[in-house]
């Protein structure tokens, strides 16, 4: 405990887990008539931008969805997806796939690095869309306590800053944090393979100096950026999308003693990664054209 410790148990509170379990149900009730939920997500706002998302979903990317039934209708579940494109379109398209195709179109929370909270405008809009900083406590509350649907992109920035010729080669899946998250929350992992996002906003080069100067997480050269400025954020190439929701890996199928065993965590993370990679290879091999599928 630090010098400022309060006498409360230190942050790794395994012995206390029973007590935590006991108070899990003391969650606040949902208040009617609000435009926001307690995470700052706004269903009203999502509905307002839905026409734009739906335009991209139906007409621009002509998204094809497979295995929507693998997304549980209730209870917590952690979707794990590949990630690409300078301003990754995969997250909103997966969200839209669930809204459009799923029998129980639930809110999807996107667990992402907390950098977005620092940028004016982005911070506000992102939270309204359902972005939540990928803090272990946030993941636990969302998935375990509140039983919600969340998606993570374990490649993180390593995925979205990938250059055009590295497409469909999954980056390292972090240190397997998402496996620990799912195991602690006791929720299934649903691997998701997104095909098409790689081609929708390819990056040809990074300008490190401008990156430093602007304080952006990266400053890429894409078909439309930087010459079209911020408008480039909406200028995707019309690649044909396919989103495959794969067979979930249920908590009962996690290896025993997973949480205390870094090797087993790494192994399961690798397993998820290779399932997504295999599916990507299969789908990319089978498609005849990037633009028509």
């Amino acid at each position: 405990m630090g010098p400022n410790g309060s006498g409360a148990p230190p942050s790794e509170r395994l012995p206390d887990e029973d007590a935590i379990e006991a108070i899990r149900d003391l969650l606040p009730a949902v208040e009617e008539g609000r435009d926001f939920d307690d995470w700052g997500r706004s269903e009203a706002f999502v509905s307002r931008v839905e026409p734009l998302l739906d335009f991209y979903y139906r007409h621009w990317f002509r998204v094809e969805v497979e295995g929507i039934g693998n997304v549980p209708s209730e209870g917590g579940a952690l979707l794990v997806s590949n990630h690409s494109g300078a301003l990754p379109p995969d997250a909103p398209m997966v969200m839209q796939a669930i809204r459009n195709e799923h029998p129980n179109p639930r809110a999807l929370y996107m667990l992402v690095e907390h950098w977005f909270k620092g940028y004016p405008g982005v911070s506000m809009l992102a939270a309204r869309m359902g972005l939540v900083p990928a803090h272990p406590e946030n993941a636990q509350r969302l998935l375990h306590d509140e039983g919600r649907l969340a998606i993570v992109f374990p490649e993180g920035q390593k995925g979205s800053r990938k250059l055009a010729w590295q497409k469909y080669r999954l980056r390292r899946f972090g240190r397997g944090g998402f496996v620990r998250t799912a195991a602690r929350a006791d929720v299934p992992i649903v691997p998701v393979a997104v095909i098409g996002a790689e081609e929708s906003m390819p990056i040809f080069a990074h300008f490190r100096a401008l990156e430093k100067l602007t304080g952006l997480i990266y400053f890429p050269l894409t078909p439309t950026f930087p010459h079209f400025g911020l408008a480039a954020a909406l200028m995707y190439l019309p690649a044909k999308f396919k989103i495959c929701f794969m067979e979930p890996i249920r908590p009962e199928d996690f290896p025993a003693g997973l949480r205390g065993d870094p090797a087993a965590v790494q192994e399961l993370a690798e397993e998820v990664r290779s399932r997504i990679q295999t599916r990507l290879d299969l789908e990319v091999g089978a498609r005849r054209s990037v633009w028509t599928g």
Binding site: P3, A8, H114
Partner: protein, 361 residues
């Protein structure tokens, strides 16, 4: 969870009696017939009418407390004294009260044969600071920032560290630390209340932070609960529900003016403060990153919040609408030592309470 106190509190010392916190908790405690005596201390006179609470004026460093504790056989100390709203009181005065006062008070409670068995310490969510990497809900085990960005925060960390040290030094004393979210209500005069009462609410361009509140009635009852029922430990006190600033503003019926620049925010805020706007260094962090706390641990001790964050804001709105109407009808309470003395000691005054240990022994 641990059990309730082995010894029911009988004789209570309340610090910060002149404030909303001390005054209201003293009123709550003195209305409980099981409590024998309530003694309140403060450098200033009480601002609320008290029935049987005895007031003792002390210096801001709270040095004379040990004698009072011993003489009145105090078993429970409710320390509401922390001043974290530096808008009103200078930094040095605040430090004197917050840090030196806490050290002296705890020293008074830890004397060899001290009768004190329970200490309730009022802290604040300010403890956790505000940053980009914060969790959506702070839990009690979360650590504060290594170097707290605000002066009041640094005071608070020093005080909480002293309380933590006291806790480990005095295993026989229950120590309850309550970290409060921003309290809203008719009687609260804080930077946050004055900020939300502005005709147009300024915010930082491009940020709509998550904020959480607690209604003043819940805040007072939380202290009461800590006195009689809560187990030793640290608890967040925040109502259910987290609002975003724009939502809070529209509930109050105010327009949001997102005009504080996101770069150079600190300088703009101190300039605006110089023009008299209710803004502070502490508020500036909240306006950018927001803050919310997990309240489930305290609920787990059996406490029930009567109002949500949203209802607390609506309560403030009703107050803002009604206040101009009823302000004239209320005559503010003024502390008159002779009158209080007469009411408490004179044989002519009939005791209104069954328990008259304070009235003419």
């Amino acid at each position: 969870m641990e059990q309730s106190p082995d010894v029911a509190p009988r004789r209570i010392l309340v610090t910060g009696l002149s404030t909303f916190w001390g005054g209201r908790v003293a009123q709550l405690l003195e209305s409980d017939p099981r409590i024998e005596a309530v003694v309140g201390v403060d450098p200033d006179s009480p601002s609320r009418e008290l029935d049987r609470t005895e007031f003792v004026r002390v210096g801001p460093e709270h040095t004379a407390i040990e004698r009072i504790i011993r003489a009145a056989r105090i078993d429970t100390v409710v320390d509401t004294r922390m001043t974290l709203d530096l808008g009103r009181i200078g930094r040095t005065a605040a430090h004197e009260n917050n840090v030196i006062g806490t050290l002296n008070l705890l020293a008074a409670c830890s004397a060899g044969d001290s009768p004190v068995r329970r200490v309730v310490f009022r802290s604040s969510g300010l403890f956790y600071g505000c940053s980009r990497s914060d969790p959506g809900y702070f839990t009690e085990s979360d650590r504060p920032p290594d170097r707290h960005p605000t002066a009041a925060g640094r005071d608070l960390l020093e005080a909480e560290a002293a309380v933590a040290a006291f806790r480990s030094r005095m295993p026989g004393v229950s120590v309850i630390v309550l970290r409060f979210a921003d309290v809203l209500g008719t009687e609260v005069d804080s930077t946050m209340v004055r900020f939300l009462s502005l005709p147009v609410i300024p915010s930082i361009t491009g940020f709509d932070p998550r904020l959480q509140f607690v209604d003043q009635e819940d805040a007072v009852h939380a202290l009461g609960h800590a006195v009689s029922k809560a187990p030793s430990g640290t608890f967040n006190i925040a109502a259910d529900g987290v609002l975003v600033l724009s939502e809070a503003a529209s509930l109050i019926g105010r327009r949001l003016a997102p005009l504080i620049p996101p770069i150079g925010t600190g300088a703009s805020i101190s300039t605006l403060r110089r023009f008299g706007l209710p803004l502070s260094e502490e508020l500036s962090g909240q306006l950018r990153y927001g803050r919310a706390m997990d309240n489930r641990a305290f609920k787990g001790t059996g406490f029930h919040f009567r109002f949500t964050s949203r209802e607390a804001v609506l309560g403030l709105r009703n107050h803002l609408i009604l206040d101009p109407v009823i302000r004239g009808a209320r005559s503010p309470y003024r502390y008159e030592p002779e009158v209080e003395e007469f009411l408490r000691r004179s044989p002519l005054v009939e005791a209104t309470h069954g328990d008259s240990s304070t009235a003419g022994s």
